[in-house]
Amino acid sequence: MISQIFSIAFVAQTIRITVPYALASLGGVFSERGGVTNIALEGIILNGAFCATVGTYYTGDPLVGVISGIAGGLLTALIHGVVSINVKADQIISGIAINLFAVGITKFVLEVIFHSSSNSSRIAGLPHIPLPFLESSPEVARLFGNPLVLISIFIVFSSQVILFKTRFGLRLRAVGENPEAADTVGISVTKYRYYGVMISGFLAGLAGAWLAFDQHSFTDGMSAGRGFIALAAMIVGKWNPLGAASACLLFGFAESLQIQLQGAGIPTQFVQMIPYIATIVVLAGFIGRSVAPAADGIPYEKEK
């Protein structure tokens, strides 16, 4: 069994599982760093997955699917943005409502288009980039030949740079910690919060698209709590892109382990619980304090 864990196939599987978590979690980081709590990640992933499926189904072109998935994510995030930033209503409830909305509308349209309440027709997967130097190991080739994997890894590292080393990142962080201060130096709080939310829509939508391609179809409720795991990873990672991605890797590892251990005596349900219990443990502060951006979740009101 140990040899199984350190096999290439296992690593590939872990990364495969981690990608959607990491993308969504990074999205959460950007949104919350700007000060908008985003519980709606789950719904954005679901909508992204659905739009990607529909896009690929009708055109046969996975690239259209990817774009559709991102578009679906952006649209969903836009709703959350309007409600949270312009209307300034409660962000947590908005997030929950959007999740419910996503479940409802995806299933609704699923019925209308595919005449099934549980899954859609099969769609093509993403095209492969042939990597000749990895021919010896088919699993690795399959993994890294998938363009989204490479893109995701790039996104993780560039997010860290963007957040901490660019002007955009500095302003975004200021808006999330003390929006009034940013306002008084002429930074538009509204604009930057939208940037943060829309980035989360982009990334979480992309995560949904990945899921759809990974499973070659859309299944009702296929996000399966990944949005919440992504949130958990964001918290465990202390709202830091690299931290969040690392936490996602950890959770992906646990999930991959669970698959390996299936039938090895440990009940699936217990292993399923691992990420959730881990999050509670971290939140309880047993592994250091985890503090959100100061203005996270608080609508910015200017006039008295």
Binding site: I39, I92, V112, F228, T279, I280, A284, G285
Partner: protein, 363 residues
């Protein structure tokens, strides 16, 4: 102008105008979806209303679906009043219902006047424990209850799934063995034949009683006063000698316990066992119910009725329009309720400002 401003904040406005507008708007949006599918909204809505309200079987189904929503809504509302987001009603009701079933199956033959209170207590205990965990973590360690309750929802589903499949199962099913017959709650159709076939049962009365108890607790007792103060201004509560952590834990336990009573509707009043998947989103609907009812126990009865009607109505119109339309409506109601406050306020504020141009300012 002062009259207009406080009218905006008055209970009448919050309790009636806002929810009503939200519901009407969502029906309008729903109509758009119905049109997209190529059906006639008037036709669909009239079928929905007539089948749910037009005959006693429909009403029975509606009431059956309303009952758990009342419990879930109260659960969320009590915690809201204490300033907490109880997203965990789903997990709490599952654990509560599960415990009800387990205790029920292990206490065969116990006389009903002991069994029924015992099973109700089991439900409350299960839900209460599941509410205690995030409450305690919040009070003692400051861990935010939103994420913790969401995590616990998943944990409860997995835990119960394991127990039902491996420990307490009836082979080839996903439910537990039946509870003692002395724990059965009376079905309404045994008294009123008009409800023939519909599973509405005495649990509804228990729900109404719970509503009154919650109202009394919050409005008339000193613990309710403390709960309100903690929810509105924890620092003032602290100053006033109120133990904030005690109220946080207490309200989560109470909220969890109330959610746990959902078991009385399904386990004690309908199937007489616990079945996996018997409720997938009651807990989340509870959030919508609480919001629409403005966290007011009696308002929650009304909003539960509405959502219960929609739940059953969705099944009824499923041949015409996918029943998920109802989920969409429910989500939109939530968004409208939380938005309407702000939007209305802004409209009125602008009106007041414009009127002031014509008036002399006096203090």
């Amino acid at each position: 102008m002062k009259i207009k401003k406080s009218a905006l904040e008055s209970s009448f406005f919050q309790n009636f105008v806002v929810p009503l507008t939200a519901v009407l708007l969502s029906f309008l949006v729903g109509a758009i979806f119905i049109l997209i599918v190529g059906k006639n909204p008037i036709e669909v809505y009239s079928v929905l209303f007539s089948q749910t309200l037009g005959n006693s079987y429909g009403i029975g189904q509606l009431l059956f679906k309303t009952t758990p929503l009342i419990f879930a809504g109260l659960s969320v509302a009590v915690c809201f009043k204490a300033g907490l987001f109880n997203i965990g009603a789903q997990g709490q009701l599952q654990i509560g219902a599960f415990l009800t079933a387990i205790v029920g199956m292990k206490t065969l033959g116990v006389p009903f006047y002991i069994e029924i209170p015992l099973l109700l207590f089991a439900g409350m205990a299960g839900g209460g424990i599941w509410g205690f965990i995030p409450g305690y973590l919040k009070a003692k360690l400051g861990a935010h209850e939103v994420i913790n309750t969401i995590m616990l929802n998943f944990i409860s589903t997995a835990l119960i799934s394991y127990l039902v499949t491996n420990v307490f199962n009836v082979p080839a099913t996903v439910h537990t063995p039946p509870i003692s017959p002395t724990g059965h709650l009376l079905r309404f159709d045994q008294i009123f034949p008009a409800f023939e076939g519909s599973p509405v049962n005495l649990s509804l009365l228990i729900a109404v009683v719970t509503v009154v108890l919650v109202w009394y607790y919050i409005d008339r007792t000193k613990y309710g006063y403390e709960l309100k103060v903690v929810g509105l201004n924890p620092r003032a509560a602290e100053y006033g000698g109120i133990s904030v952590s005690r109220q946080v834990v207490l309200s989560m336990v109470i909220g969890g316990a109330i959610a746990g009573l959902v078991g009385s509707n399904f386990v004690m009043g309908y199937k007489y066992y616990y079945e996996e998947g018997f409720s997938t989103d009651t807990g989340f609907m509870g959030i919508a119910v609480a919001l629409l009812g403005n966290n007011n126990p009696f308002g929650i009865i009304l909003s539960s009725l509405l959502f219960g009607m929609l739940e059953y109505g969705g099944l009824v119109i499923n041949t015409m329009v996918p029943k998920e339309l109802v989920s969409i409506l429910q989500a939109i109601v939530i968004i409208f309720v939380i938005s309407s406050n702000k939007i209305f306020r802004r409209i009125i504020v602008n009106l007041i400002k414009k009127k002031k141009l014509l008036m002399v300012q006096n203090d």
